[in-house]
Amino acid sequence: MNAKGRVFRYYDNVDTDVIIPARYLNTSSAAELASHCMEDIDRDFVSKVHKGDIIVAGANFGCGSSREHAPLAIKESGISCVIAKTFARIFYRNAINIGLAILECPQASEKIQAGDEVEIDFSTGLIRDLTLNLEFRAEPFPPFMQALISKGGLINYLKEEEGK
């Protein structure tokens, strides 16, 4: 599994209130949520994002509320992966549970710039910045989480376990 796209660059402590403001949480429609994704810190995100694009951020990405609407909005907007130095724990869980690819990689988080073209090989954790001609290696997921992701999220994983 691979991803390739242009980078939207954000910094530390991107909270779930700016990913999807609570004023839009009166719906759980992914398309409607995506139409407001990131608008409180980046008015242009929604108009500029293309399928496959990548978010690169600093520490503690997704801090704040437990709203699963945040990773849902990002996924629905077309983002193929979020790379950050660290993720807030509920966001991390939610992203895995709904099948939004996320990678922790402090070096990539530090070097990759807005607009760079980046390619990711999820099987090896290799991140290539094609614009800067740099390579980074992300922390692999523990086997349990790899199983969750490969089954397409928590619900499918549990249904399969139940069937065993």
Partner: protein, 420 residues
């Protein structure tokens, strides 16, 4: 190797003799919680299991509190979705408007959580119940759905940071000042993925309401859970609430902590978090003059009876500043009634405040008290992110009920100890 109280609770729930930080476990759940924002997403996921019942109808709690009483048509649809599900699944602990309250004040009050429990809630402030010696943590809607279906959740056992408390608070200082001080000290990711364990002789001096407030904001330091030891005050609280028999897990002497902080409660000052992160703390005595437009006193952090009493003690015989709005939001119906019986409502009304039915509304910029461009609010809530309470160019300053009330009187951030 010794275990922390959190490790012991998780080991027990996973049916293991011992667990340690980093271990992945599957734990049995004592309670699964959702609200009107997170439950509709969870209900859609739950349907994928094709089940006609939840794992235990007494162990799911559904509370319409965020956008309820319904703020608009879409919110009404979401509340209806949850209400229908609660009815179809015969959920015991569904709390309709009229019985409901802000979930993290309501569940302990109703005796739904006891010491030793493992609780997940699709709300980040589910960590509040650590005040009762339970392991409780916030999750997303998919985890909530899986919890309702299976009665289990996976966890990575967290490592721990200990806060060794000594002494007692000075007048006008409270649990809110303590937790804001800690977040200022360690940062909004200072406890990322970790347990924040509060211990030491100073614990005895903290009221249960203070402990709820402290654990409530563990998530604001990135924590997985906050937890207090169980003492006489905890037992008395649980008994009065009619909670289940407490199972008391005590941290071993040789339990492993990544860091230990010693905090003298007597040195904590009234503290305010400036926009736009809870870690941007200043003591009130250091605050420059900051004029404000609104004050909110309420929420799962500070909407309990002692919070309203602290605010009323300041507002008694005083009036809020001209041109300012002050919203008082008792967190549950019981708190509402108790505050009314104690005569606090007269004090608030005489001071020019408005009193609302329980709701999370303003805390997350949902409704009731939304801020316009350039407006500033001192709030006893828990987050001051960009746009949290309204316009993207509005500002939220987090503070205790005493500081919020003093600020309402002065029309600017003010020290309750220095009012005339």
């Amino acid at each position: 190797m010794g275990m922390t109280s959190t490790e012991k609770i998780l080991a027990s729930a996973a049916g293991l003799d011992e667990v340690h930080a980093g271990q992945l476990i599957m734990a049995k759940l004592s309670l699964v919680l959702g609200n009107d924002i997170t439950s509709p997403v969870a209900i859609e996921e739950f349907k994928k299991f094709s089940l006609d019942r939840v794992f235990d109808k007494d162990k799911v709690a559904l509370v319409p509190d965020h956008f309820a009483p319904n703020k608009d048509i879409k919110a009404a649809q979401q509340c209806k979705c949850m209400r229908t599900f609660a009815h179809d699944m015969d959920i015991t602990n569904y709390f309709e408007v009229g019985q409901m309250g802000v979930e993290h004040a309501l569940l302990p009050e109703k005796g739904l959580v006891t010491a030793g429990d493992v609780v997940i809630g699709a709300d980040s402030h589910t960590c509040t119940y650590g005040a009762l010696g339970a392991f409780s943590t916030g999750v997303g809607s998919t985890d909530m759905a899986a919890g309702m279906a299976t009665g289990k959740a996976w966890f990575k056992v967290p490592s721990a940071i200990k806060f060794n408390l000594t002494g007692s608070f000075r007048p006008f200082v409270s649990g809110k000042d303590l937790i804001l001080h800690i977040i200022g000290m360690i940062g909004v990711d200072g406890a990322l993925y970790k347990t924040m364990e509060f211990a030491g002789p100073g614990v005895a001096s903290l009221s249960m309401d203070d402990r709820f407030t402290v654990c409530n904001m563990a998530i604001e330091a990135g924590g997985k859970n906050g937890i207090f030891p169980v003492d006489e005050k905890t037992i008395a609280y649980l008994k009065e609430a009619g909670a289940g028999e407490p199972r008391i897990f005590t941290s071993d002497e040789d339990a492993v902590y990544e860091r230990v902080y010693d905090i003298d409660l007597g040195q904590i000052e009234s503290t305010v978090s400036f926009p736009h992160l809870p870690e941007n703390t200043h003591t009130v005595s250091q605050c420059p003059e900051i004029r404000i437009d609104q004050v909110v006193i309420g929420s799962c952090t500070n909407g309990r009876l002692s919070d309203l009493e602290a605010a009323a003690a300041i507002l008694k015989g005083r009036h809020i500043a001209s041109g300012l709005r002050c919203l008082i939001i008792p967190a549950t119906q019981k708190i509402y009634r108790d505050a009314m019986k104690e005569g606090l409502f007269d004090i608030f009304l005489d001071a020019g405040c408005v009193i609302s039915t329980p709701t999370c509304g303003p805390c997350l910029g949902g409704y009731m008290g939304i801020l316009a461009e350039g407006e500033r609010c001192v709030s006893t809530t828990n987050r001051n992110f960009v746009g949290r309470m309204g316009h993207v160019k509005s500002e939220v300053y987090l503070a205790s009920p005493a500081v919020a009330a003093a600020s309402a009187v002065m029309g600017k951030i003010a020290d309750p100890a220095k009012l005339d």
